[in-house]
Amino acid sequence: MSDVPAIIHWMQNSDIGTGIRESIWLFPIVETTHVLALALSVGILIWFDLRLMGWGMKHQPVSHVHKQIMPIAFVGFVIMFISGVLLFWSEAEKCYLSGFFRAKVLFLVLAGVNAGIFELATKKTIEDWDKYPIPPVKARMAGLISIISWAAVIIAGRATAYNLF
């Protein structure tokens, strides 16, 4: 593990990194929290995405689903992000060198940008969508990109853990 930036090397060998990596209980606990928070964040977000695409929860108004579901998904994201940073910290060198981890970060950024555009721009007319069973194309696209990028994040995350290929 030679060709890594100084900060990655420092994280890997810091007290926090070494502590999590070498603890019998800490790593599994942080990892389990990460996976459970996944269900709380992505698991719930997917239902909003499905609603956006007009594939699920068709009886509920879009704006209603958004208002009810997103705060809970957000809590999940905070837990997932914190536990994810800790996992990265403990295996910084392995993650940095892993092609799958880089792909994961890329899809995370894609999911983030997609969500940002939706929340800041697309969402402005959300109240109008309630009148129709299926939202406009730009909203459906946001839902589709969200589902695809999150699925890719999960797949790449699993592949990082197994060090595949």
Binding site: P28, E31, L45, I46, W47, Q68, I154, A159, Y162
Partner: protein, 158 residues
């Protein structure tokens, strides 16, 4: 437990189990499907149970929310169970010796029975469940599925 030993041995020696074991990438790929599907199922379980506890979607009837979620939840359950059986076949002997696996199975069968009996009964009638029974059924259901998830993660670690 030793009554089950021949069954676990047989599972371990099946063609499917041996095939999955023989490759380095089959197991992770099947496990990824397992994880993707359980994300959908857990999401549905959480949404429905939060509704039962009257935390979200208070304006929508429980029955309606349950009906909207159920086709996706059911299909994800099918994917979870079939991928889960494949994973099990490939390491049945490891599972036989694994305490977390036993815990997971107890939670799994309890969760399935509870889900398709009491939980279904409460979520599939026009009558809105009482505040207390809604909270009770929702919480028990969520905890049972949480136990399945924790036990499952434990198999990989312990």
């Amino acid at each position: 437990m030793h009554y089950f030993l021949p069954f676990f041995r047989w599972c371990d020696s099946t063609w499917l189990g041996e095939t999955i074991r023989s490759s380095r990438i089959y197991f992770p790929i099947i496990e990824t499907f397992h994880l993707l599907a359980l994300t959908i199922l857990f999401g549905a379980v959480i949404v429905l149970n939060l509704r039962l506890c009257r935390i979200i979607m208070k304006g929508q009837p429980v029955q309606q929310v349950a009906q909207d979620l159920s086709p996706w939840a059911l299909w994800s359950l099918v994917v979870i169970l079939s991928s889960g059986i494949m994973l099990f076949l490939s390491e049945a002997m490891k599972c036989y010796a694994s305490k977390p696996f036993q815990v997971k199975m107890v939670f799994l069968f309890s969760a399935l029975i509870f889900h398709f009996t009491i939980h279904r009964k409460v979520t599939r009638t026009d009558r809105e469940p009482g505040r207390l029974s809604g909270i009770l059924v929702g919480t028990v259901n969520a905890l049972l599925w949480l136990g399945v998830g924790l036990g499952g993660r434990g198999i990989g670690f312990l």
